[in-house]
């Protein structure tokens, strides 16, 4: 069991890549930087594959497979080991992160070929991989937090990669600061966990939680508090309402960064946390409700903003926020496996969307405004076809990966044990909007007349190192959902079956988890049509498909058939359009409510008040006092002999009195 016993190798590989490129890469030719940067991640992926093979040989009672490497913190009762673990959830996350990460690294060699700071880019990207892998392989909250913070750091570094551009540097800061708010909640959550359970190790926490009852909806018990706090961190890291504002700005970073960090991996860390802590969440119904509501609202809200954006990357950014909302919705209604499933399929199709968008931008020589594109279908066919596949996937067209995952989530929202009709409607509406804006993106970019100067821009297909990852991802976006397919014809959902132990091991007794029904293989007691075919038909003709179709038709109408009608609608709903285009003015509201007052307080209270008056006052005051005292005392030495004599006499008298006092006390 080579790798299972040496899990750290998976972390060491990207870290070594980061260090090598960072320290030595400046003088190396690009090919060497590539070898190191892409090589380390590729090796990590191969190692992950081998790890999965070894994992498959384990027996059920050996899972989760935990290895502690050294005692990191030993502070009385608070001991934390650097320990890593592998279980089914880890395997899913590991493969997703490593695979997509590898593809994006390869892609970057093409996309960043003409950029400066090449070695720095790969160093940061490897560093990110290191932290992300730490995050998913951690066996306790503290090691995970190391990864959590580390990916935040890498995100900051990569968003602000072109740091000489003010908007990029600002975006990096914004990302870090906004997620910091969430991280505060997360930290308090970790502390609360330690307080309640006396440990931060997953195994120990879950073991103790198993004997705790489900908390009532009305009060906030310890489990609810912990879950809400951890979820606050997830809100920040996974860009949900109200802390989503950093993600659209993060598009300032290079497109591979947007693909890897802000679509496929880092932003999904919040979903991973919620799924990982499912034993706690299952016992805190109010927390689950909060998660579901936040997820559902965000899914819908963000989709509305995406409807009218003109920058291709911004559309995808809001789409990511929206899709993350779906993942949280899934977890919030108890369908953890569905949420993770959507996480995986989203990594494929959203990663693909971003990379393809990057290919478009590269082809257009840097243009990102869709209104200045058009008719690119025949000119960059590979990009077009892969992007088409991804769009179909995200819209939820039956057969592709996105269909299965989204469908499961919506089904759980509609009729699972924690179902909420309102949330189902929100999710459904969001799905319709998603379909609309994604097809809008496709049509504006690839169809219609060329709305750019064809002589100025020389449109060309991207090189192989960019198109091959696109094609590979397209394959997975196409077929990545087939594990779950048998469920629709009465078989088992293999994905859920695989993850079953993770979500069932500590499930509360008597509580139904959404998985049960699909695991049993049959439709369960809910449907009227009892046959397998009926189940399949229900899925195919279900509401998600209908709204996806509506979205497609609407987009086709507005952007292919009658493009002028888009203008007319815009004119009629001018105010609404402006609100959506300006993202509900949330950034401006935040600036007025929080940023400016904080700046004012920092400047006037803390800087002028505390720093200048208090601290400088003390620091300057002490020598000033000394100086004043000195100059006062100096006047004793007046040169006047008589005053000297007087002082001597007075001193002698004082001394005598003192002595007599002491003597008197000694005698009596």
């Amino acid at each position: 069991m080579l790798l299972l016993d040496h899990l750290w190798i998976l972390l060491a590989l990207p870290l070594a890549g980061a260090a090598t490129n960072g320290l030595l890469g400046k003088r190396w030719p690009r090919s060497t930087v590539n070898s190191v940067g892409v090589g380390s991640v590729s090796l990590a992926f191969l190692a992950a594959a081998e790890l999965v093979r070894e994992f498959s040989l384990l027996k059920a009672d050996q899972i989760p497979y935990v290895k502690s490497y050294f005692t990191w913190i030993a502070a009385g009762p608070f001991t934390v080991d650097f320990s890593l673990q592998v279980d089914q959830l880890t395997v899913v996350m590991l493969l997703t992160v490593a695979f997509v990460g590898m593809l994006i690294h390869i892609y970057s060699t093409g996309y960043m070929a003409h950029e400066g700071g090449y070695y720095r880019f790969f160093s940061y990207l490897n560093l990110f991989m290191f932290f992300m892998l730490t995050l998913v392989m951690a066996a306790n909250l503290i090691v995970m937090f190391v990864g959590w913070e580390g990916v935040g750091l890498s995100s900051y570094l990569l968003i602000g990669f072109w740091f000489l551009k003010k908007s990029a540097a600002d975006a990096g800061k914004k990302a870090f600061i906004v997620t910091r708010l969430g991280d505060f909640g997360f930290t308090v959550g970790i502390l609360a966990t330690f307080w309640v359970f006396g440990s931060v190790q997953y195994g120990e926490i879950f073991g103790k939680a198993a004997s705790m009852p489900i908390e009532a909806n009305s009060q906030i018990g310890p489990l609810t508090a912990i879950c809400l706090l951890l979820f606050l961190g997830a809100i920040g890291k996974s860009a949900q309402l109200p802390l989503y504002v950093w993600l659209p700005d993060a598009m300032e970073g290079p497109t591979p960064v947007s693909a890897l960090i802000h679509a496929a991996t880092m932003v999904t860390a919040g979903v991973y946390v919620v799924a990982r802590m499912n034993p706690l969440f299952s016992r805190a119904p109010m927390a689950m409700l909060v998660v579901a509501i936040v997820g559902g609202l965000t899914a819908f809200y963000s989709a509305t903003i995406g409807l009218v954006q003109t920058d291709i990357k911004k559309v995808l950014a809001y789409s990511t926020v929206s899709q993350l909302g779906y993942m949280f919705l899934g977890c919030g209604v108890g369908a953890y496996a569905a949420g993770i499933f959507h996480l995986m399929t989203h990594a494929f199709f959203k990663g693909l969307l971003f990379l393809a968008a990057g290919s478009v931008i590269h082809a257009m020589g840097g243009e990102q405004d869709m209104h200045r594109m058009g008719g690119l279908r025949k000119k960059i066919p590979v990009t077009y076809w892969t992007m088409l596949i991804a769009t179909l996937a995200i819209a939820g067209v039956p057969g592709l990966s996105g269909f299965f995952s989204k469908d499961e989530i919506l089904e759980a929202a509609a009729s699972g044990p924690h179902a909420h009709p309102t949330l189902w409607i929100l999710g459904l509406a969001g799905a319709g909007l998603t379909s609309f804006y994604m097809f809008r993106l496709l049509f504006l970019t690839f169809f219609g007349p060329s709305r750019y100067d064809e002589h100025a821009v020389h449109v060309h297909e991207s090189p192989k190192n960019m198109t091959v990852p696109l094609m590979i991802l397209a394959l997975f976006a196409l077929g990545g959902g087939w594990f779950a397919a048998p469920h629709l014809v009465g078989g088992t959902d293999h994905f859920e079956a695989f993850l079953h132990p993770v979500f069932q091991a500590y499930a509360p007794v008597g509580a139904q988890v959404a998985e049960q029904a699909s695991l049993a293989g049959s439709a369960g007691p809910s449907s009227g049509l009892g046959s397998e075919a009926g189940e399949l038909f229900k899925a195919l003709a279900g509401w998600p498909v209908i709204v996806a179709l509506i979205g497609f038709v609407a987009a086709w109408w507005f952007y292919i058939r009658r493009p002028e009608s888009a203008e007319r609608v815009r004119a009629r709903f001018g105010a609404l359009y402006q609100v959506l285009l300006n993202k509900y003015y949330v950034d401006e509201i935040y600036a007025a409510l929080f940023v400016r007052p904080l700046l004012w307080i920092s400047t006037n209270l803390l800087w002028h008040g505390v720093d200048e008056v208090a601290i400088d006052g003390v620091v300057d005051g002490v020598p000033r006092v000394a100086r004043e005292l000195g100059s006062q005392l100096r006047e004793l030495q007046s040169g006047n002999t008589r005053s000297y004599a007087t002082w001597v006499v007075l001193g002698a008298v004082g001394f005598t009195v003192l002595l007599l006092g002491l003597l008197g006390m000694a005698v009596h």
Binding site: Q637, G639, N640, T641, R642, V649, V653
Partner: protein, 102 residues
């Protein structure tokens, strides 16, 4: 044993010392101040002798001996200084001798 209680001598010594201290503070002439210091030394001598008699120890007298000797040396040097100052400053007013300052 002395017929007169030793405490009487001590009181006298204290009075003389006090008068000497007053004179040091209030007089202006350097030489007068000097003499007042000598007065204080004498008062102390009286106390030493009294104690020597009271305890029957010779050490008090030895001390007095040394005080007188050192007082003599001090007087010599001190008056020499006074003469020097007077030659420089043409005055015996101690307030004019104010160069010993920062």
């Amino acid at each position: 044993m002395s017929v007169v209680p030793i405490s009487y001598y001590l009181v006298l010594s204290a009075i003389l010392f006090g008068l000497g201290a007053v004179a040091v503070v209030f007089k202006r002439n350097i030489i007068t101040i000097f003499m007042a210091i000598e007065l204080m030394l004498n008062a102390v001598n009286l106390a030493f002798v009294a104690f020597a008699r009271a305890h029957g120890q010779i050490d008090g007298l030895v001390f007095v001996f040394f005080v007188i000797v050192v007082a003599a040396a001090e007087a010599a040097v001190g008056l020499a200084i006074v003469i020097t100052i007077t030659h420089n400053r043409q005055t015996l007013n101690v307030e004019r001798v104010n160069l010993l300052k920062l």
